[in-house]
């Protein structure tokens, strides 16, 4: 046997030493304060909009998922890791909505400040009353969310607990600005409370209470609960699995009974099947945005619900609406 290659061995030792030194350095690296606006990276535009309400000029909030994208299916692009690498705060919807893409990005971002459990990590669902937590979880039911329905931002009242979770995160990463964040959060909650009252009044004037609707996905459960709509069926009953012809047939028969007021779908799904169902049943189809920045005019959390009511009213009077 030939003796070990000295050059190779030296290189390997130097490499190993560098890795170990760097690893140990992470344990003792001091935290540093930054006078620039805090970089807040959120998974969705709704969270970014609320972060701007709470943080004002003190934060620069950017969402990874565009408002017109399906938040379940976002590609974990390496470029997102670059954005996350310097973030002071990371905010996610949680409840496994981003399970297919956010964990890999956080693990690859090399930013210990925003990892789960760190001060810069915020799960916005922490203070939200989550609904539809399944008693049993099986993939035979489709891609169900075991921790409950994650589309909670579509109940406008949930804007308040989301804002409080973001406020708490901002205070953790920038305690010197605590008073500012607390004041802005309170102001946002106050304005939101008034807006919710206005939207409830609008829902009453439209006669939404008790109206039966069919939705494409389970995105609208919170909105329906907030405004007393009754969701009686889904175009896609098992999340993530296209409906079978048998289900579509049964759904059309169900909707032909005449008591369904609306067929509601998210605008990131293909509208061809819902349009066909609408034509066969005479139930108006309304294609709605589900997030801030879905359309250029929807710039704030308030704009989102104004836009939803602007679409629902005419749709209830009949005809397909976009």
């Amino acid at each position: 046997m030939r003796p070990p290659d000295a050059t190779t061995r030296a290189r390997a030792l130097a490499f190993g030493a560098a890795v170990l030194l760097g690893t140990c350095g992470a344990l003792v690296a001091p935290a540093r304060s930054d006078p620039k606006p805090l970089s807040v990276i959120t998974t969705t535009e709704d969270l970014a909009a609320i972060a701007r309400e709470v943080g004002g000029e003190r934060v620069r909030a950017i969402a990874l998922c565009r408002g017109y994208q399906d938040p379940h299916f976002v590609d974990a692009k390496p470029s997102y890791m670059v954005q996350l690498r310097n973030a002071a705060l990371f905010v996610q919807v949680g409840r496994d909505l981003e399970i297919g893409w956010a964990p890999g990005l956080l693990n690859g971002a090399r930013n210990p400040r925003i990892l789960p459990g760190a001060p810069g990590f915020v799960d916005a669902s922490a203070q939200v009353q989550v609904i539809e937590i399944p008693q049993t979880v099986s993939r035979s039911q489709g891609d169900v969310h075991p921790y409950g329905n994650p589309h909670y931002w579509l109940d406008p009242a949930n804007g308040a607990p989301i804002a409080r979770a973001i406020r708490d995160g901002l205070v953790r990463v920038s305690p010197a600005d605590a008073a500012l964040f607390e004041r802005r959060c309170a102001e946002f909650e106050s304005r939101l409370g008034a807006a919710v009252a206005r939207w409830k009044a609008e829902a009453r004037s439209l006669g939404l209470a008790g109206r039966k609707v069919v939705t494409y996905h389970r995105s609208w459960s919170y909105f329906a609960r907030a405004f007393d709509l009754e969701v009686v069926d889904f175009v896609e009953p098992r999340p993530g699995i296209p409906p079978s012809p048998n289900h579509v047939q049964d759904l059309v028969a169900r909707m032909k009974r005449g008591d369904v007021a609306l067929l509601v779908m998210e605008d990131f799904f293909d509208p061809r099947l819902p349009r066909r169902i609408s034509e066969q049943t005479g139930v108006p189809l309304v294609i709605l945005p589900t997030s801030v920045a879905d359309e250029p005019a929807i710039r704030t959390y308030f704009d989102l619900f104004d836009r939803l009511f602007a679409a629902i009213g005419p749709a209830l009077e009949g005809g397909t609406r976009r």
Partner: protein
């Protein structure tokens, strides 16, 4: 004649099976949603690692004698155990259960961040030589491995046990640019067609850099270059004591972000080249490229072209593969694949047809990109 008839009926049966599954059947309503709460119903999940199984069933037909003799096989079931260890690190273990027993396919600890934007992995992991090699056999679109990957990195791909360090390189354009260094015990000459360590000091050293360039919200390009060096396989030592491998890879992806689940395109090209450390050693290598287009929510079609020298230099093969893929859900993929390989030395063709059904049970894992 009989073989041709069997081959034809095999393809017809596989396509019929795909069609039947795609047509679907009666779907029961899901159970009504349960209670409302702010706490998860199953907190035990939080303490346990995420446990999942990825397996695939495969059927092969044709006259390709280089493939396993069995017409039906469950080549591998991969058990994954993944969890954070503490706020600083995580562990990912993948155990491959196959006809030859249970082995650790990958098992590594990751230190998630250290100063300067670095990250380190310790354990057994798939080498970052090219992009395709990182994928586990069951996760790739193909029933086989590209000819050059199999010829140069082995049928199971190249894995090593050691240390990885990686950093994101800051740059004015703020694009993703990484640098990876790996050092570890190289696979032995039974597992690797080009490497053959004999002593403790015979380590494999590897470097890789890659750049990710987004063109717009739906289109991006990932370019990578890799280099590895280790003691040569005994059969290749006439070309030098060490074998050096280089790889260049290009991945182009497109997806309409407004209709992300309906249309997508993936194009990947990878070149591999190797040379012994001897002064007169020849350069040999291979290349493969493939495109997979998603033309409907659950359907994809693709093709792959292959060319490879043998590391020993006595054989050069060309190949072409076509696939049709049906994805009933995120957790299951069925495909029919046809492959023809032409051996230029003997001027013979080998043909094979595959049916592959990959499934995943357990928690929803993150999708690699």
């Amino acid at each position: 004649m009989l073989r041709t008839a069997f081959f034809t009926s095999w393809i017809t049966s596989s396509l019929a099976l795909l069609s039947a599954l795609a047509a679907g059947g009666a779907i029961a309503q899901p159970p009504t949603a349960g209670s409302d709460s702010t706490t998860p119903a199953t907190s035990a999940w939080i303490a346990n690692p995420a446990i999942s199984v990825i397996g695939w069933f495969q059927s092969v037909a044709g006259n390709d004698h280089t493939l396993p003799a069995e017409a039906f096989a469950l080549p591998e079931a991969e058990l994954a155990f993944q969890s954070a260890i503490d706020p600083h690190s995580r562990a990912d273990f993948f155990l491959a259960a196959g006809p030859e027993g249970l082995e650790v396919e990958e098992g590594y600890l990751t230190w998630l961040a250290f100063p300067g934007g670095g990250q380190a992995k310790f354990g057994k992991f798939r080498a970052d030589l090219g992009k395709f090699n990182r994928g586990h056999p069951g996760e790739t679109s193909f029933a086989d491995r590209p000819l050059a990957a199999a010829a140069w990195l082995g049928e199971e791909g190249l894995a090593l046990t050691g240390v990885t360090a990686s950093i994101l390189i800051p740059n004015p354009a703020a694009i993703y640019w990484d640098l990876i260094a790996q050092v570890g015990s190289a696979p032995d000459s039974l597992a690797s067609p080009v490497f053959g360590p004999e002593r403790r000091g015979d380590v494999l050293v590897l470097g890789r850099t890659s750049v990710f360039i987004p063109f717009d919200e739906g289109t991006d390009l990932h370019l990578g270059a890799s280099y590895a060096s280790a003691r040569s396989h005994p059969a290749l030592r006439s070309d030098g004591e060490r074998t050096r491998l280089g790889a260049a890879d290009l991945t182009l992806r497109w997806k309409n972000p407004r209709r992300s689940i309906y249309r997508s395109l993936l194009i990947q090209v990878e070149m591999l080249g190797g040379r012994g450390s001897g002064d007169l050693a020849p350069v040999r290598g291979g290349v493969y490229g493939y495109a997979v287009y998603q033309f409907a929510r659950q359907w994809k079609a693709g093709a792959r072209l292959d060319r490879s020298d043998s590391p020993g230099g006595h054989e050069r093969v060309h190949g072409v593969l076509a696939l049709l893929q049906y994805q009933p859900s995120e957790f299951s993929t069925l495909s029919v694949q046809l492959r023809r390989v032409h051996d230029r030395v003997t001027d013979t063709d080998r043909e094979a047809a595959f049916f592959k059904w990959t499934f995943n049970i357990g928690p929803h894992g993150a999708h690699p990109y």
